[in-house]
């Protein structure tokens, strides 16, 4: 699923970003005063370097954590702007294979990262930077009286799952399998966010989602911990892409995500440190 247009970021990759500021600046400042103001580019001072933009393709479940990550990174590296393209992990990998511009790929699925490596689109081996465990999410008030995975077999309840094609669907099924539960699933949602939306709306009685999603829901859903969830974790690999235009900055971002500061942000959003 490609929620965000592949075109995002393309216009930012032109050579103009790297031009020497002395020659091009007066004219461009006049022409693009509005844009310059937005980007915080200052000609008069001359001291501030032109910002480099890096584009991060990230899993939908990282939306909140990485938005904060980008702000913290830019605070530390004022010359670097971070743009995001959030989507389903497999969809993002497909975009990379089809030549979508991007500097970094961070996904919830080793297989998606492996596909990118296999195609020679990765600049290095992917590194795991976080894990995520699964929880049962129920609507506020728990109308179905769900207490554990066993309730997923109750046919009278409306049970949702992620589709088998996406990581949360595979991990959720593995959890159910380990608990020897044959779930009475009523819908296989395209991604974890759409599953969460239907639980929030009270249209589904329960579903398996990431712990970070329950936290992001901020009281719109209730989370129920699952026995054995710690043994079946989602791993999040990150890798700088071979086609990166700002390679140094991309490496710096990867290092930042894996640093103490980056890990603190991730755990603050309910993810587990690497």
């Amino acid at each position: 699923m490609t929620r965000v247009g592949g075109g995002a970021g393309r216009h930012r990759r032109g050579p103009s970003r790297r031009q020497t500021k002395s020659a091009a600046c007066p004219l461009r400042a006049a022409l693009t005063a509005g844009l310059a103001a937005v980007l915080g580019v200052s000609c008069a001072g001359g001291a501030v370097e032109k910002p480099v933009t890096i584009t991060v393709l990230a899993a939908a479940s990282l939306t909140d954590a990485f938005t904060e990550m980008g702000e913290a990174f830019s605070a530390e590296h004022p010359e670097v702007q971070v743009r995001f393209n959030f989507g389903a992990s497999s969809g993002l990998a497909t975009q990379v294979l089809q030549g979508a511009p991007g500097d970094i790929l961070a996904v919830a699925d080793q297989a998606a990262a492996d596909a990118v490596v296999a195609a020679g689109e990765a600049s290095a081996a992917p590194q795991v930077f976080a894990h995520n465990s699964m929880e049962i999410a129920v609507p506020v008030g728990n109308p179905g009286g769900v207490t554990g995975l066993g309730d997923f077999a109750r046919p009278e309840l409306l049970i949702g799952a992620c589709a088998e094609e996406v990581p949360c669907g595979r991990i959720g099924r593995r959890l159910l399998h380990r608990a020897s539960v044959a779930p009475a699933i009523d819908t296989n949602e395209a991604d974890v966010r759409s599953l969460l939306t239907k639980i929030e709306a009270g249209e589904l009685d329960a579903g398996l989602v990431y712990r970070s999603d329950v936290m992001a829901g901020e009281g719109a859903v209730e989370g129920i911990e699952v026995a054995g969830a710690a043994e079946v974790l989602a791993s999040y690999p990150i890798v700088a892409l071979a086609g990166a235009t700002a390679r140094e900055e991309a490496q710096a971002f990867v290092a930042f995500v894996r640093s103490g500061e980056g890990q603190r942000i991730l755990t603050g959003h309910g993810l587990l440190a690497r």
Binding site: M1, A88, S90, G91, L158, G160, A163, E164, E165, V166, I185, D186, T187, N188, E189, A190, S194, K198, A201, G202, E203
Partner: protein, 264 residues
């Protein structure tokens, strides 16, 4: 009386028209070129594919039936009855054509879902739960596809000669009889065209369906939903399913349109 020049179409128009055809045909050709022709047979007999095919046929037909039942009277009212706010009603019922289908699906959930405006009453009083059911697929498809029938039939009614109805009335026919015996046969080609458009739109419906009715093989997973699922995991199967969808639509549009539209 053909004048000189009409026998030979203007070159500019022909070039532009040919460009339009190429624009539409090119992606379809690319799809066919990517198709796993050799494995097509084995891909299409998979249970998930057979289920999706059957479900799409059943729901698109049901959607067309419901749309005919509700949409033809609506088109008649819009075309023949003067009432305040008519243009507003017309805009309202055609709104689903421009609304992103996913938004339509969310709106349907808020209206007919278990906690929805009407849905909670349906659930409590009648025990009817539309989301995540095959009936829910028909609801979602009807929401999106019925406007195509309504505007087509309304246009046909406006273009029809009203004198036949007036004559029928002077000969003693009741308004209902005139509608049945005169109006309906008169605009039958328009109704057929509208029904076809509606059917085709229902067959391709994705956004409202997956949002309102969910995605479960055999119950709510129609062909477009199956294509979407396969796209994530099995590209060949996705292309094969898309070809089925294209071929099916093409056959029905060509055959039925020819039969109903041209021969009448």
């Amino acid at each position: 009386m053909p004048r000189r020049g009409t026998s030979r179409p203007p070159l500019a128009l022909v070039v532009l028209a040919a460009s339009a055809v190429a624009f539409v045909a090119l992606p379809l050709l690319a799809l066919a070129q990517r198709a796993p022709w050799r494995e097509l047979g084995s891909l299409l007999v998979r249970p998930a594919v057979a289920d999706a095919l059957r479900l799409s046929m059943v729901t698109a037909a049901a959607t067309t039936g419901v749309s005919l039942l509700l949409g033809v009277p609506l088109a008649w009212v819009l075309a023949r009855v003067e009432f305040p706010g008519r243009s507003l009603v017309r805009a309202l019922v055609t709104l689903p054509m421009v609304l992103p289908p996913v938004v339509g699906g969310v709106a349907l959930l808020f209206a007919l879902g278990r906690r929805g405006l009407v849905g909670q009453w349906l659930d409590a009083q009648l025990g009817v739960l539309l989301p995540f059911s095959t009936a829910g697929v028909v609801v979602a498809q009807t929401f999106v596809a019925m406007p195509f029938l309504v505007i087509t039939v309304e246009a046909a009614l406006r273009g029809a000669d009203r004198r036949y109805e007036e004559v029928a009335a002077t000969l003693g026919a009741s308004p209902w009889t005139a509608f049945r015996r005169i109006t309906l046969p008169l605009v039958a080609p328009g109704i057929a065209a509208g029904a076809l458009l509606c059917w085709a739109r229902a067959l391709g419906e994705f956004g409202a369906t997956i949002t309102f009715a969910g995605n479960l093989q055999g119950r709510t997973q129609t062909l477009p939903l199956a294509v979407f699922g396969a796209l994530e995991s099995d590209r060949d199967a996705a292309v094969a399913l898309s070809l089925v969808l294209v071929a099916l639509s093409l056959v029905v549009l060509v055959v039925l349109r020819h039969r109903w539209w041209v021969l009448r």
